[in-house]
Amino acid sequence: MPSPHNIEPAVVLLVGDFQDAFTVEAWKAIVEEVVNEAVRPASGSIAERRMRLKEQLLGCYETEPVFNCLTAFSENLVLPLPLPDGGVASSPHFLSALLRTLANYNVVAIISSGTATNTTHLFRHLGPLPIPVLVVVATVSDLLRIHPSERTNPTDRHATLRRSNALRLIPNNERQAVAIALQAMSLSLTHSVTLFDASAPDYYVTDLIRVLRDQFAEASQSSRMQLRVTNDSSELAKTDVGVFVGYLSQYDNVIAPLKQRPKHLVLSDGCYDPLRWTPTTDDIATNIWLAQPRHRVQTLAVDAYAAVLQVWRESLRHEQHPVDERLESATTLLRLALEGVEFGDRYSFSARENTSGGYRIDLVQERSK
């Protein structure tokens, strides 16, 4: 690879759909961080240089131009490169781009801000390659678990295997389900909550609905609380408290057009879009409660990048480490870094899942256009 320092730069890939707000927000946050790291105070006319570099990087979602733009700063830096999955990580085109990138650039880690389904495809494409994947958006607990069916299913074998090299920075669906269930129960005066199940073929939706059902089933043993599940939107409209699990596009197609809506509607974090919603305290016809992780995608993405940078810089001092320390996996080193004091108390991993942070439910309204 070309490099002014004749040293091959380390690279971290941001994989996701750059048409999607989550990925764009993650990219912007990483760019901000890398610009600050790249243009250090000693380099003179800092503000101007930072601004120029930032302008070059923002809005550029192609791997090679970003690499060329950053190589001048490669010394002691991990270069973030975007790798768009186009929203379809299962495509041969994406697989080819991924493998070409992995062979041509020194990719030391991948930050995945794709959907759960696309992250699963990413795992599958990576096969047994031990490159750590830091998941910052996809919120499905099944991603990182091994199911008995997968152990015998050869097509899922590598997706399963890859999980040992994955870290999910965003909390899992069980935590979200607990937050949604508690909120919905506290709002219900009739001891009944209606869950709209659109039966979307998506890990995220099916997994969260499954965990929500479990939560209500458990609650029903000690209270009169009932969960009604429907795929009829008009049924949802008649209810006091409704829960919608899915993505914003589904919400816009199915729920938003309803003339009559429940008094309270709790939305899962799949509906989160910073451009769409704003916090409110107003009491309006339908109170919309939005679940979202305590730490936003920008924070998680920057943390992921900073941890990769920290571990890489430490790796460059390899000769100071005895053999047994050097044999530690990159994923474990990243986990230990994220649990360090530099990252506050945002991360505490159990196996490969972050159990710290959790979810909050905010009352929101649509932003005025």
């Binding site: 047994p128 031990p130 053999v323 044999l327 530690e328 996996s329 990159a330």
Partner: protein
């Protein structure tokens, strides 16, 4: 260049069977008469601990490394490799790490990997590069290593300093430099079984890699068999008691053979010299003989794999099909029957030539580089002379010509001339 050796062996072209031993395919060197005498004349009571310690000290001196206590002694090179793999498995978290090897390694290494390595194994197919028409270059090999390292980020990289079949000297320092750039933590494990005693191995290089294994009975011409390991980070290896054959503790000495230790001590004297000039002299001598051999072989009868400036004392050559068993008498047979086997779902191949890499899963046999290539190999040691080499080449050429005259078709489809005629007819 003439090398003064302590004892000279002889080669007679009337004894073809002698050639297979004299220019041994596996590079097993012949013990000098002085060494043999030294072993035979030893007193009845040679202290075991002292013998082991002396070998470490003398070998450390030979390698010009500062820490002779970082040297471990084993039954053979494969045993040393097994020891490292076992130790690494113990040191690895959960015993799992990713291993990157090449497909030009000794089949016994694959067997050890298959038995001892629980994590993913990636096999880089270097043989396609090395055996391509016109040979390969360091640049192509480094590019292949670079692609594989970027893809795999191995916990451990294992490769040979000199490819045992083709004799290509790999650019170890450049490969290590690449590793430190791409995957700095990777444990670099180099097999120098065909290197030490054949070429000069700089002490600096031994400090750059994490483990370096070699053999006492190949190019260093000690008695069979002895494996040696140098590891810069010695404390994790426990060399005081390597647990295989050559323990420093007398009571647990296992099946170690004291004659082997004594033989090796004495054999090293032939390679001595404080400044390393003797090893450089031997390197040039071996390479000179190899090049001489290549120039003497009839190129109508033999194809020699081009390896450019990476030549050392090894020459791999491919007799044309009509030679059959006639040449086998002189060359220790072929390596046709070699195979590399790896099982399980975590083993995969990386084609060194793919621009866009494809991870090909493998579960079973990989074609060894020798497969289908009818490769013979000769080794030129410090005790060979130019006259030896000439007699050997002449013998081979004569045997081949005799076989050609008879035009005895063999299992490879007859003579080169006959093949040419059949091709012409077909056209």
């Amino acid at each position: 260049m003439t090398i003064k050796s302590i004892a000279r062996h002889t080669f007679s072209s009337n004894e073809p069977n002698n050639a297979s031993k004299y220019f041994d395919t596996a590079s097993i060197g012949m013990q000098s008469e002085t060494t043999t005498a030294f072993v035979n004349d030893r007193g009845a009571n040679v202290a075991w601990t002292r013998a082991v310690d002396t070998v470490r000290r003398k070998f450390g001196h030979f390698l010009r490394v500062e820490r002779e206590q970082n040297i471990g002694i084993y039954y053979n090179t494969t045993a040393a490799i097994q020891r490292v793999l076992v130790r690494l498995s113990r040191l690895l978290p959960h015993g799992i790490g990713t291993l990157l090897v090449t497909d030009i390694e000794y089949p016994g290494v694959f067997a050890a990997v298959e038995e001892l390595w629980r994590g993913p194994v990636a096999v880089l197919q270097l043989s396609k590069l090395i055996w391509q028409p016109g040979g390969t270059t360091d640049e192509l090999l480094l590019a292949a290593f670079g692609r594989a390292l970027r893809l795999v980020k191995p916990t451990v990289l294992y490769f040979s300093h000199i490819a045992r079949t083709s004799g290509y000297t790999l650019p170890v320092d450049a490969i290590v430099s690449l590793v430190r750039q791409i995957s700095p933590r990777t444990f670099v494990f180099v097999d120098g079984a065909q290197a030490v005693g054949n070429i000069t191995v700089p002490a600096k290089l031994l400090e750059q890699v994490d483990a370096y294994v070699t053999s006492g009975h190949k190019w260093l011409c000690g008695m069979t068999t002895l494996g040696l390991l140098y590891a810069r980070d010695a404390p994790v290896w426990g060399f005081d008691d390597p647990a295989q054959s050559y323990s420093l503790k007398t009571l647990s000495s296992g099946s170690g053979v004291i004659d082997v230790l004594l033989s090796f001590q004495k054999a090293l004297e032939d390679f001595g010299g404080k400044d390393g000039s003797r090893t450089l002299q031997i390197e040039l001598h071996n390479r000179g003989l190899a090049e001489r051999f290549v120039s003497l072989l009839d190129n109508d009868l033999f194809d020699v794999q081009g390896i450019g400036s990476r030549r050392n004392g090894i020459v791999a050559f491919q007799p044309q099909g009509y030679l059959g068993s006639k040449v086998a008498d002189y060359t220790f047979g072929t390596m046709e029957s070699e195979y590399l086997r790896l099982y399980g779902d975590k083993r995969f191949l990386i084609d060194a030539q793919d621009a866009i890499p494809v991870l090909r899963e493998l579960n079973g046999e990989i074609a060894a580089e020798t497969k289908g290539r009818n490769i013979r190999r000769a080794s030129f040691h410090y005790y060979h002379s130019e006259e030896d080499v000439k007699r050997f080449a002449d013998s081979l050429n004569l045997a081949a010509k005799a076989a050609q005259r008879k035009s005895v078709p063999d299992d490879r489809g007859g003579s080169k001339a006959a093949h040419k005629r059949s091709v012409a007819r077909a056209q």
